[in-house]
């Protein structure tokens, strides 16, 4: 390590240059004095005197670094388009550890999304000491950008969340507050299914189609990789061509499950995602879901936004975990109201036992556990006229074969309620008290069971 003088421009003051929004360039020089210039895929800021460069291919740049540790990198600020020269000296290559894993996750997520996994393999992160950092026109200053004071907003966010006593309000209040306080206008929240194989969307904010009930495979694409590895994935200049819903659909097609497409709900998503931040919701090492923020502007989510996302996600996960424990408390008994009105319109509810999917008048509603619960409710309604139910009786109902997962029932009921809201105007599920809900049906229902 050298005892170098302070940098002309501190790395912290040009943090947005390390977001990968505008490509950086690197110039190396061979031992026999031939310069070599190329584009760089990732330059990250390691600390105030070090940067990390992705090492993906063994190329001329790598050969030159082995011969001569001095390199220069030019980065560009996406905020004001100023260019900065960084004089670097190669120190070491990391092939494991948190820095390597974070960069690998970022590359893998984008590679998985674009079907380029075999091409974009991260071999290592080359760590360089920064010997100087200065504007490309050395005669002008570095003009750092003013930072945003996030503290009061974070305090307000936690205050709003603290007042939530149900899972549904945790989701809605969080997504609303992320928009109102931080300007993250487009967001959605997904939770894992009972097997941990898939994630499904339980809440969304700021999209034309809510996407409630849409799914993603664990370990696939940006959402699935963030969830599986429990790592934040931030993409700041995402390929214009990639849409998440399309990827899900093509994955289904690739697997030869075209017939399932009818039962696939498109993920919430902007038509042109340019920036995305996916943060896992983890509490005591357990994955409770993922939070996804999207924006149509390039470079919307910077490192401070990532910190805000992490804090918000931890708070949300903690609230969700607390409510899970509270939910097992006994609900008060409510009088059961028999249904009296005999509606005239008739609708058919069809249940496919193979995947518990439900179709109402040939329109897909839901599948899986939520479908099984819905089938049970409408059976009780049609056969016995019941409209009032408690979470507890559903949970204890052996015929439903619910997984041994406390959080899942509440999540499934929210999912079911929201899918009905979005897609059926004559059946609704109304929360009538803590741990209790009512099935409100305006049509006569005809039930059909198929394999």
């Amino acid at each position: 390590m050298s005892t170098a003088s302070p940098l002309a421009v501190s790395l912290e003051s040009i943090a947005s240059c390390f977001e990968g929004i505008i490509p950086a360039s690197i110039c190396t020089c061979s031992a026999d004095g031939r310069p070599n210039l190329t584009n760089l895929s990732i330059v990250c800021c390691v600390d105030s005197r070090h940067v990390g460069l992705s090492y993906q291919f063994f190329n001329k740049t790598r050969k030159n670094i082995a011969q001569n540790p001095f390199v220069q990198v030019v980065v560009v600020s996406p905020a004001n388009m100023r260019q900065y020269r960084l004089d670097l000296r190669y120190e070491r290559t990391e092939t494991e550890g948190s820095l390597f894993e974070a960069m690998k996750t970022r590359l893998d997520a984008v590679a998985s999304q674009t079907g380029m996994s075999h091409v974009f393999k991260l071999r290592g992160v080359d760590i360089f000491e920064v010997q100087d950092c200065r504007p490309i026109n050395a005669e002008i200053g570095g003009d750092a950008l003013p930072g945003t004071d996030f503290l009061p907003k974070i305090e307000e966010f936690t205050a709003r969340l603290e007042a939530c006593s149900e899972l549904e309000s945790v989701i809605d209040v969080s997504l609303d507050a992320l928009s109102a306080l931080f300007g993250y206008e487009h967001s959605f929240l997904m939770v894992p299914d009972e097997n941990g194989n898939r994630l499904f969307t339980l809440g969304s904010h700021g999209f034309g189609e809510s996407g409630i009930g849409s799914e993603a495979w664990m370990g696939e694409g940006i959402l699935g990789i963030a969830a599986e590895r429990r790592e934040v994935v931030r993409t700041t200049n995402f390929s214009r061509d990639v849409l998440y819903s399309n990827t899900i659909r093509s994955t289904v097609q690739r697997r030869g499950e075209d017939s399932l497409l009818e039962r696939e709900i498109a993920l919430p998503g902007l038509p042109e995602i340019q920036s995305q931040l996916v943060v896992p919701l983890v509490n005591q090492h357990r994955l409770l879901g993922i939070l996804c923020l999207q924006c149509a502007t390039v470079g919307r989510f910077l490192s401070d936004d990532e910190r805000v996302g992490r804090i918000a996600a931890r708070q949300m996960a903690a609230s969700m975990a607390l409510l899970e424990r509270a939910e097992s408390a006994e609900p008060e008994e409510i009088p059961r109201r028999p249904y009296t009105v005999q509606p005239t319109a008739v609708s058919t509810v069809r249940h496919y036992t193979a995947d518990d999917s439900i179709f109402i008048d040939d329109a897909y509603l839901i599948k899986g556990i939520a479908g099984r619960i819905f089938w049970k409710l409408v059976q009780s309604y049609v056969q016995g006229g019941r409209v009032d139910f408690t979470n507890k009786e559903i949970r204890l109902d052996a015929s439903l074969q619910l997984p041994d997962f406390k959080d899942n029932l509440e999540a499934r009921l929210i999912l079911l309620r929201r899918r009905l809201q979005d897609h059926c105007d004559f059946v609704s599920l109304i929360q009538v008290g803590r741990g209790q809900f009512r099935l409100d049906v305006q049509h006569q229902l005809k039930l059909e069971e198929r394999s």
Partner: protein, 166 residues
Amino acid sequence: MCMASEHPLSISDELKTFLEGPASVLAGTRDSRLMPEITRAWGPRVSEDRQHISLCVPLATSRKMIDNLDGNGEIAVTFSLPTNYRTFQLKGRNATIAEPDSTDLAAVGRHRDAFASVNESLGQSRERVEAFWQAEVETSPVLVKILFVPEEIFDQTPGPGAGREI
């Protein structure tokens, strides 16, 4: 003027069109300690005989580069198209410095305009792209011309095959 190269290459029509198009152009040089220096260049031109390349660089950003070229003449220049990252790198050993004439300055104007247009098509406003080079000439509008004879040309389009010599 450029010294004659021992291995002159002839630049094809297709490559000439690419090099004189809206690409992002960066030049790399090095000092006597083999410390590299990157400078953004404007208005690249391929000579009539297809063997020489000229570029302009702002004096304010190229003082070190000029010293480097005075010392050793080694240069590498990349041309990268912002729309698809198609990239070529040209290397020469005998780069020299001259004063740009009106043809060179006109080429700089055309290049900046084309560069702004192609970035506009990617969603970058013209104002932002103009800010890109304005800081380079904020303290001095003077441009310097660099001339060299490419001895090696590489297809540097990113990916595992990058670096293939043409």
